[in-house]
């Protein structure tokens, strides 16, 4: 195996619940409690598990949206968890995140152009709007949207279209690692398939590494190279897609797999 682009060792993210007043007892929630994994360049690793298992917190910790409690996360050989916000900022270009809710993830006050232009200017990829617009149009095309949408506001788009714009905001920076947090969970099935295909295609074409976080085992099987099953803040089983889905070892993985409703039908797309 080539050297990992992201290498996580014993990551812990604990939250203290804010109790009322200075005398309130503080409870510690161990959202992520000792997680280790590697992602190779061009690889898609999925974190799968049920609500509250800590899978989203892993993603949010890696993007500094939450503070880690302990552990290491080497990205290109550098521990990103210990970086200050200012030191981490340039790295944000390489580590990007796709969010779940396409309705909440776009600022309603900004046009699509402003939303997509912002990261370009922050990271110095465009000097002026003329340059930025060229890149924005290219990226919109990449996600299957016409450049004419640039001047419009998020509320003018459907959920699927907004998620495409969210993906464009990530792709415009040409990141090395994309963290997709339940990226298709909020979409209708028919739209989910479109977006899933798009993410898979973009990942293949650009060779981006991806940490794909989802509760949906079908989606996970479709997109991943390797899968890590999380339960109560820990990874209980990790392996290649085929190991996990065809020969699950851990009782919890088996329970998850057997719980999924199956459709008995003549396979129309086999």
């Amino acid at each position: 195996m080539t050297e990992a682009i992201l290498s996580i060792r014993d990551l812990k993210t604990h939250f203290q619940t804010q109790a009322a007043g200075f005398l309130g007892e503080k409870k510690v929630i161990k959202a992520v409690d000792g997680v280790s994994f590697d992602i190779a360049p061009g690889e898609v690793l999925s974190l799968v598990g049920e609500s509250g298992c800590g899978k989203s917190t892993v993603g949010r910790t890696l993007t500094h949206l939450e503070k880690s409690t302990a552990g290491q996360a080497l990205f290109d050989g550098q521990d990103i968890l210990t970086l200050s916000p200012a030191q981490f900022r340039p790295l944000r270009r390489d580590i990007q995140m796709i969010f779940q809710d396409p309705f909440a993830s776009l600022n309603p006050r900004l046009t699509i152009e402003q939303t997509l232009g912002e990261p370009l200017f922050i990271h110095g990829l465009a000097k002026n709007w003329a340059e930025a617009r060229v890149l924005i149009a290219e990226t919109l095309d990449l996600v299957g949207m016409a450049p004419e949408v640039m001047t419009r506001h998020p509320h003018e788009f459907s959920g699927g279209q907004r998620q495409r714009i969210g993906i464009a905001r990530v792709m415009i920076l040409k990141p090395k690692l994309v963290i997709a947090d339940e990226a298709v969970s909020a979409l209708d099935v028919s739209i989910q398939a479109q977006v899933l295909n798009l993410i898979k295609k973009l990942q293949r074409d650009s060779g981006i590494s991806m940490l794909f976080i989802s509760h949906d085992l079908g989606v996970v099987r479709h997109i991943s190279d390797r899968v890590a099953v999380m339960y109560q803040g820990e990874i209980v089983e990790m392996g290649t897609k085929h190991e996990i889905f065809e020969n699950p070892q851990h009782a919890y993985t088996r329970k998850l797999l057997s719980a999924i409703p199956r459709i008995k039908t003549r396979q129309v797309n086999a």
Binding site: S190, L217, R221, F245, S258, P261, R262, I263
Partner: protein
């Protein structure tokens, strides 16, 4: 005569004084001991249909504009509100999508079940409480005699949905409507809740309507399926028949869109385009803009029902072609 007969039901929502059709003439029946699944994507009208049957549209901008809903031979749409309420929660009960918010946070769960019981049955408080504990036990809440005094926030989502089921079943309804009953739950909990529902059905013979966006849930739990698209049932039949020969391009597309866990698919055969919005006018077959086999006929003419096998009905001009 079936227990529930819905005929040519039309529902519209008033947006700024203009009625926009949501459900455009649907018909189906459900009988004792039978589970009907209604499946479709957001905005197809499936939830409105369930609220219309239950009688919960009062006070909303949604109106039933045409059609009939008969329960046990009685036309529900002609009953007074009082007569309607005597059936609601009694002969006919409903559970909802959000177990976290569907119970009143300020009352103990036992009291909420008792309220439902005493609304329709002359039964003492003590007997009602005993019955509530029995019901909680029935829906497999551990320690029911203690949990009866819990508040909703002290329970998990799965447990709350069980409480909802217990409450719905309190007056032994003949029809249970479940609107996305497991959408908010984790898969393992979903499995338990669905199993519970079918076990209870075996015991009580209740007719069940499950509304869901999840074809898998429907396929696994229902005897009959109706697939809705933009206010119409585009394909309906017994679960066996329907999944054996999917005959509508939409149903087929829906199925192909689902990434499955049991084998690899390189690319999903997604349905192109987007789900039509409310008030968008589409001529002929509403699915034509997204349909891979649409022709001029589909744009010009609204398809009627084509019967494939037995009562497997499909609204597609080319149903026979698709099915084979």
């Amino acid at each position: 005569m079936a227990l529930l007969e819905v005929e040519n039901l039309h529902i519209a929502v008033s947006v700024g004084g203009v009625l926009q059709p949501v459900v455009r003439g649907i018909s189906f029946t459900v009988d004792d001991n039978e589970t009907l699944g209604i499946v479709g994507e957001s905005g197809c009208g499936k939830s409105m249909t369930s609220l219309a049957i239950m009688g919960l549209l009062e006070g909303t901008p949604v109106r039933i504009t045409d059609g009939s809903i008969r329960y046990d031979g009685t036309e529900l749409l002609q009953l007074s509100s009082k007569q309607r309420r005597a059936i609601m929660g009694n002969r006919m009960a409903m559970i909802f999508q959000e177990p976290m918010t569907s119970l009143n946070p300020v009352y103990r769960i036992g009291d909420q079940i008792i309220e439902s019981l005493r609304q329709h049955k002359s039964i003492s408080k003590k007997a009602a409480r005993a019955r509530a504990i029995e019901l909680l036990d029935l829906v497999r809440i551990p320690n029911p005699s203690e949990r009866v005094d819990s508040f909703p926030h002290q329970m998990s989502g799965g447990q709350r949905q069980r409480v909802m089921i217990a409450m719905a079943l309190s007056c032994d309804p003949k029809l249970l409507i479940a609107d996305e009953p497991t959408t908010a739950l984790d898969v393992t909990v979903q499995k338990e809740v669905l199993e519970l529902m079918s076990d209870l059905q075996e015991r009580t013979g209740t007719a069940i309507i499950i509304i869901s966006h999840d074809l898998g849930v429907i396929a696994e739990t229902c005897d009959k399926v109706s697939v809705m698209y933009r206010g119409k049932i585009v394909e309906a039949g017994t679960t066996e028949n329907l999944f054996e020969r999917l005959a509508h391009p939409y149903t087929r597309g829906l199925l192909n869109s689902i990434p499955v866990v049991d084998h690899d698919v390189e690319w999903l055969e997604a349905i192109p385009g987007r789900v039509p919005t409310l008030g968008e006018e589409l001529s002929g077959c509403a699915f034509h803009p997204r349909c891979p086999i649409a022709t001029g006929l589909c744009i010009a003419k609204t398809p009627g029902d084509t019967y494939i096998a037995g009562n497997h009905a499909v609204k597609c001009h080319y149903a026979d072609q698709v099915a084979s």
